[in-house]
């Protein structure tokens, strides 16, 4: 029987999990443990709703409402010295709860602290751009749009960045298979030769271990060279490996190992 794979999440799953296995958690600690983070959190709490806040692996994680994202980052940048946006992207939770999670990883060089601001948006919802605060968000948001299809409002140039502009689908969504869909499989053929060439070129070989023993079109066979496309199902001739033809090459001297110098110490 073929294994069932859910359509909304094609990520690889472990094939066996112990029934009684409970995944451990990475330790979370209270924000009040760290004075610097506690002060930052107070500043956010004074103006905005904070859904959750904790410290995990030495960094504070703050969960906020999605429409506060610009204001919270503005507050942190201007008043709390979090001057750099190291990273931002999305996580696909569409299969579980129909939402994208957006995270902003920010850094304060003065305090040597890092905070992760997180918020969740619906699939069709757009998020406010923070490009006005951090220029680096310009490309990050484009990448997020390219990979997840999360639309960003007020972005100066909301186009795909990594994939070609005429690409279909959003590769990092969990519904998108690792090896691409029909469109991806024929993209380069359609683009260069046209759809009518699909039959001539044939489908992609996605099996990394596939080797056709008698294929003389795709593999050169060192030591057993035959003409292109020859039939070798009855066996192939031996052609000894030489780096130069036996009778020598016109006007070229053969390499003489006797006359060469062998360098024993390469650091000399």
């Amino acid at each position: 029987m073929r294994a069932y794979t859910p359509k909304d999440d094609v990520q690889k799953k472990s094939y066996y999990t112990d029934r009684f296995w409970v995944a451990p958690q990475v330790a979370k600690s209270e924000v009040s443990d760290d004075a610097v983070f506690a002060a930052d959190l107070e500043a956010i709490k004074a103006k905005f709703d904070v859904l959750d806040a904790y410290i995990q692996v030495e960094q504070m994680v703050v969960v906020i409402n999605a429409n506060d994202n610009y204001a919270v980052l503005e507050l942190l940048k201007n008043d709390r010295e979090y001057t750099q946006l190291s990273e931002m992207s999305a996580i696909d939770w569409l299969a579980q709860e129909g939402k994208f999670e957006i995270f902003y990883q920010i850094l304060s060089m003065a305090k040597r602290k890092r905070i992760r601001i997180k918020c969740k948006i619906d699939e069709k919802e757009a998020i406010q751009s923070v490009e006005k605060l951090f220029r680096s968000a310009d490309w990050s948001e484009r990448e997020m749009y390219d990979m997840f299809g999360v639309v960003v409002n007020n972005h100066p140039f909301m186009k795909r960045i990594l994939m070609p502009e005429d690409w279909e689908g959003f590769p990092l969504r969990k519904t998108y298979p690792l090896q691409g869909d029909e469109f991806a499989a024929w993209y380069e053929v359609d683009r260069i030769f046209g759809k009518e060439a699909r039959e001539i070129i044939g489908p992609e070989n996605r099996d990394p271990a596939r080797i056709d023993r008698y294929d003389t079109k795709r593999f050169s066979r060192l030591g057993h060279e035959v003409p292109f496309g020859a039939d070798i199902s009855q066996g192939e001739p031996d052609t000894p490996l030489v780096y130069q033809e036996q009778e020598g090459v016109f006007m070229i001297d053969k390499f003489d190992a006797e006359k060469s110098v062998v360098i024993s110490d390469r650091h000399r």
Binding site: G180, D181, I192, E204, F228, Y243
Partner: protein, 169 residues
């Protein structure tokens, strides 16, 4: 009267060498393979290394050229992505005949470890390839060996024959 007998052919004194046109042309072609600088990814670094001081590609007459119109060998060194595929074909079309292609490294051969949506599974889907080089990334010695193999291949071909279309279209 002293007899002077000079065997020009044997003593190499006569400034004439007898050979066939094929051999002369192929000798020239095979010992001045100018390659296009086409480093796409990691293998491109090894391609540079084989052109640099220790491995010294110049002794093969292989000089890297930046323009496809001056090059006759395309070493596809690295991963070819779907976004780039169009450009490799464009560059290949711009190269003048006769031209050869070495597909360097697993990515260019078959897509290699990048069995994903964005990678062309083998550069031979787009342009015809003469030599496939295994390795990830192949060492500079491997590339040099491939060029020697290519030289051998060139010497075997008749020089003046109208070029037959290679595989693919």
């Amino acid at each position: 009267m002293a007899q002077h007998q000079v065997n020009y052919l044997k003593d190499g004194g006569l400034p004439v060498a007898l050979t066939t046109i094929d051999k002369v042309v192929n000798w020239g072609r095979s010992n001045s393979i100018w390659a296009l600088t086409y480093g796409l990814a990691c293998c491109g670094i090894e391609m540079m290394a084989s052109g640099a001081s220790r491995y010294d590609f110049d002794r093969f007459g292989t000089i890297f050229r930046a323009s496809p119109r001056q090059a006759e060998l395309m070493v596809v060194a690295g991963t070819l992505t779907k976004k780039h595929a169009e450009f490799i074909r464009r560059l290949y079309d711009q190269m003048t005949e006769p031209k050869w292609v070495i597909s360097m490294g697993s990515c260019a051969n078959t897509g290699g470890m990048f069995n994903t949506y964005a990678t062309v599974q083998g550069v031979d889907r787009v342009i015809p390839v003469d030599l496939y080089l295994p390795g990830c990334a192949p060492r500079p010695e491997t590339l040099q060996y491939a060029v020697m193999m290519l030289q051998q291949k060139i010497r075997k071909e008749p020089a003046s024959r109208a070029q037959k279309p290679k595989r693919l279209m």
